[in-house]
Structures are given as structure tokens and as C-alpha cells.
Amino acid sequence: MTDFAFARSQMAMSLAFHIVFAAIGIGMPLLMAIAEGLHLRSREAIYVDLAQRWARGTAILFAVGAVSGTVLSFELGLLWPRFMEYAGGIIGMPFSLEGFAFFTEAIFLGIYLYGWDRIPAVVHWLAGIVVAMSGMLSGVFVVTANAWMNAPTGFEMVDGRVTRIDPIAAMLNPAALQQVIHMVLAAYVATGFAVAAVHAFFLLRDRTNAFHRTAFGISLAVAVIGIPLQMVSGDMIARMVAHRQPAKFAAMEAHYRTEAGAPITIGGIPDDAAMTTRYGLRIPRGLSLLATGDPNASVRGLDTIPRDEWPNARIVHWAFDLMVGAGSAMLAIAAWAGWLWWRRRRVPDDRWLLRAVVVAGPLGLIAIEAGWIVTEVGRQPWIIYGVMRTADAVTPMAGLVVPFVTFTAVYIFLSVILVYLLRRQFLETDPSARRGWQARQEVSRDG
């Protein structure tokens, strides 16, 4: 592998690792704020117990998200200095706003996690709301910067030099709104399903457990409300991509040859040389309908794109199908759960539904990873779409295999520890273990 390939791999691996914590960092504070809000209204202890338990998991994940996010802010320069030299002045604005959103989030998370018995209950809840809001805003700003790479606006090129920069116009680029909505909803849905799965697992063991029933209800509600909205958002963003980034769209759909009334292809093996996708399931006129709303419209294929500007169609198409497949499965489960919920007027706890939710737990995070592969690999070979090639942005540094291997090893190590730690957090739910934990907390506070 070349240094360039290692640079891309390191960036991809760092993003893939960080995005899990970023999404949970957006989603968990919402769940905690809902639980604590319910406590303020009903004064039932179970809600505050729940918020505290969720807060413990969030504290661990947030810390890892904070440090892995720091890694990314450095890596922009360590791996892509030419890109930052070119784009820093154009898209620095959302990054600085993100800096302040992150500041606010970190400050109020500190108050939230450590302030249970130091500030009034309502103020504590408000601190939680601030964490949820600023966490969401962090995501909004970072995604805005990424959207600019897909739809670069707010500057002019004169003789290869950037001039007339309008940082506000760059921030309000045409891809920003769609990408932001899609990512924020993704964070809520993924967190909702992941958390619901954990509590569904415990409910399968003991369906009378009020703690897990409450937790399952709140997280499932967020997921059930979020996923249909996400599907609508997905449709909108797909049309936007079809219009703005035809190469990415064609790769997503493994669509090689421009045609009217184009079919949609699900699965299959895209073959660049033969310019066709073998073994895929085809739905006639589906692609034209999806991309334009008109089943007979013509849809641009990869054949209209110069060969050296094609993204890797296999990776992009498979990742896209994985994302849509995961989304559809979650939508089906949400419809099922919502129907049972509406019919019985209480949190559904059918054994088969609980099992389905457990299985669907990772689907939201899988869809997020797949979606990022679609947007990032689909933009290649450009780092700034149509303006700068990724290969021209890379650092002249040699031996990039070393940091790649090092960061990969560190992240794998952290992942193993995290799984182990979170598992123990979950298992410490029986009353005797809880008392032991509270006693330890008391000791550490006094000591």
C-alpha cells in the first residue's frame, strides 16, 4: 500500500471510530433529559435512577468521543495539510462554532455528571438540556463542514488561488441542510435502537422489571418516532445527491449507463469493466422515480463521468444498500412496535418484538457507518468535489504505515475495553449490585 492509501485508511478508521461516540454523544443526552424531565413531572424515583444509570455509560463514551474528536482535528492537518491550507479559511467558520458548541457541551456535561447533589433538580435538568442541545449543534457544525466538501461554495478561484471567500456562504452550502438533518436523525435513531436493545435484552429475562420497562419505553419511543422521519430525509438527500453529485449517485445505485426509465438495482456485483451490475435485483423505472419523481425520466450513469473521476462503485453501492437495508429493517420493527403500542396503550413487551429489537440494536450504528462510507468514498477521487483531488491534498510525510498501525491498535484496544466496561455497567442492574455501587460512590465522595 502507498502512503496515500495509508493516509486514507487512517482517516477512515479514525472517523469510523469517532462517529459511533459522536452519535451516542448526541443521542444519549436526549434520552437522559427525557428521563429526568419525567422525574420532575411525576417525582417517581425510577426516572432519576434511569437518568443516573444512563449518565454513567454516557460519561465513558463521551470521554472517548472527546479524545477521538481531538485526534480528527489534528489529523486534518497531519494527513491533509494541502487541503487545510486551501480550505481552512473557507470552512474554519463551522469548525470554530463547533469548538464553542463542544466547549458548552463539555462544561455542562461536567456539571451534569458530577452535580447531582450540588445544584437544584430543575437546574440539573436544564444542564442536561444544554448538553443535549450543544451536542446536537456540534454535530450540525461538523456536518456542515463536511457538506461543503460535497458542495463547495462561498469562494472563487482565480489562477489557481482562492479569493473572494464568503465564509457564511460556504457554511450555508446547498448540501448542508440535507446532510445535517440526516445525520442528527441518524444519531437519535441509532442511539434509540442501541439502548432499546440493551433493555429489551434484560426484559426478556424478567418482563416485570419496571426499571428496564421504563428505559425500553423511552428509548424505543425515540427510535420509533425517528426512523420514519429518517426515511423521508433519506429520500430527500438522495434526490439532492442525484442533482448535485451525479457520479456519487450513479455509484450508489451501481448505475453505469444513462437511460430513460432507469431501473433501480438492489445488491449485485458492479463491474466497472463491463459497465454493468451482475446478479442484482432490478425494479423497473425505480431509479428514475426515486431520483426525479418521474418514472420515465433519464438518469445519468457513470458513462457521463470521465473514467478517472469514478468513485469505487462496488464499495459505494454495497454500503448504500447496507444503509438502506438497515434503515428498512428498523422501519419495519418500528412500525410493528408502534402498532402494538397504539393498540394496547402501553409499552409493548411481546417476546418476539423484544427479540427483534435486540437483534436490531446495532443496525442504527451500522447504517451510520455505511452512510459515511457512501458519502466519503462516493466523493472520491475528490476531497473538495470538483475542485481538489484527495491525492493532491495528502501530506508529503513518508512512512504513514506507522501512525496507521499505531492508531488502529490503540482504537482496537479501546474498543475491547469499552465493550467490557459497558457490559459490566449493564449487568450491574440487580438491586444488590446497585447498593454496592452506591456505597462505593459514597466512600469516594467522602474520601
Binding site: 454513567r56 470521554a63 497531519l78 487545510m84 479559511g89 471567500i165 479501546l414
Partner: protein, 331 residues
Amino acid sequence: MTVEHRLGAVILAALVIYALSGGADYGGGMWDLLARGPRASRQRAAIEHAIGPIWEANHVWLILVIVVLFTAFPPAFATIMTALHIPMTAILIGIVLRGSAFVFRKYDAQHDAVHRRWSTVFGAASFFTPFVLGLCLGALASGEIRVTDGRLSSGFFAGWTTLFAVACGLFAQGLFAFLAATYLTVDTEGEPELQAGFRTRALVSGVLLAPAAALTFVLARDGAPQIFARLTSWWAPLLVAVTSVCAIGALAALWSRRFRWARAAAVGQVMCILVGWGLAQYPHLVIPDLTLSNTATVPSTLHALQSVLAAGALVLFPAFGYLFYVFKRRS
């Protein structure tokens, strides 16, 4: 004062605050690793108590430095991250391991063996990271990182592999250790045994800072000629005098157990040192080729960034005030 100078001042100010807050958190980690004897676990608990709620917010100052640097001075950011690729990567590894180990320790099993394992990672990374930060700042001052026709021409080892840079690294470690021990004497008020331990640590590290500073200064003559020349110009004696007064004042206050005075003096000392470095470095971001003005991006972005920073400060400082009010007020 032009807008790029104001933004340069913001970078320096953010670095000073990072040193005073995040730097002290590194120092806390060093004392965690060095905790020995019968009170070791209580010392660790005091350190954890002091930095637990605030370290993540403190850490964001470093991100602010990076973000302002790449937004306002993109070519400088590109050059620094290329020339210092190796030490910057090392810093990242240190930051990741340190933050993770700290939170894992808090939420992992409370057995001593497990606790010690995470303490070791946390403490080792707390020693290592400021040292490499010092190497990087020393490299920026060294004059060895060169840019020809807009491209880095001095390779990937220039500046940070010198004796002067090593002295800067050691000095940063010592400064943060001193700062942390001094803060902890205030944080452990009401626990005389712990307080006495941190007082001793603050005194020892504070005294050791003097030869470390002298060594760094002497090595600067060859290692960072511009800095050395500036530190012998007209304003330098004044700054050195104020720094010395703060340093001696801090030690005297520690000696006579006036811990709040010691903390204030130590803060003054660190501020003087970093501001002195900033003045000696001015107007360069990377000596000798990259300055604030020759790397600044277009005015529209600089002005927009300035507005964002001003608006952000309006949110940030009250929020920080509240954070410290909640956790650092006398209970």
C-alpha cells in the same frame, strides 16, 4: 492592532488558559503516578476529585488553538502539522490514552490492581504529553523549520530533535507539575495530611523549576537565537523581574502556608512565562519564515472568525464561571 494580530493574541491567550487549566490536569496525572506511601490512594482520590468534572472542558482550549490556527492562518497550520507530524502524532496518542484511562479508571472495577493499571497509563501519558508539547513549542521557536516557495523544506525532524526543544519539554513538565501541586494544596483544604504532602511536592517542583528555566535560557542562545535575542531586549528584564517575583512569591507563600496566595502567584508565573515566549516569538508563528501577516487568510474570514470568537466568549466565560462555582467553591 490589526485583526490578524488580535487573532494571534487569542491563540496565545487560549494557550495560556490551556496551560493554567489543562496543564494543571497533566500535572495532576503526574502526581497520581508518583503517589506513594500510606496516603497514596487518598492523594489519587483528591486529584480525581479536583480534575474529574473539569478536565474535558479544559481540554477544549487546545482544540480552540488548533481551530483558530487553521481558520485564520491555514498555511501556518499546514506547515506546522507537516513539519511536526511525528511529535504531533505522539501528542495525540498521549491525549487518547490519558483521557480514556482516566474515565476507565473511574468506571472500572474498584479493585486496587485494576485501579493501579489505569493509574499507570493515565500517569505515564500525563508525563509524556506535556513533554512532547514542549518539544513542539520549542521547535516553532527554534528557527529550524524552513519554508521555501510555500513548501516545507526542512524535513520532518527539524526543530524538535534539539537539546533546546528537550529543555522546553522538561520545563513544560516541571511547570505543570508545580502548578498542579500548588492548586492541590488549595483543593485539599481541611485535610492537613494531604495538604502537607502536596505542599512539599509544590515546593520541590517549584525550586527545581529555577535550574530548568536557566538551562532552557542558556540553550536558547544556540537553539532559538531569535528568542534569546528578544529575551535580552529592553522589555525582557521587566518581564523576567515580574516572573521572578511571582515564582519567589509562590514559594514563599507555600512555605508560609498561604495556599491561595501561592496559587495566584503560580498562575501569574505561568502567565508571564507564556506571554514572554509569545512576545519573543512575535510576529512569527513559525520562526523565521511564517508570520501572522504572511499566513493570514482573507479579511472576510478573519473578521467573521473574530465575531464568532467574541460571541462565543459571551457564552463560554459565564458557563466556565458556573462550572468552577459549582465545583470549586468552598463547601
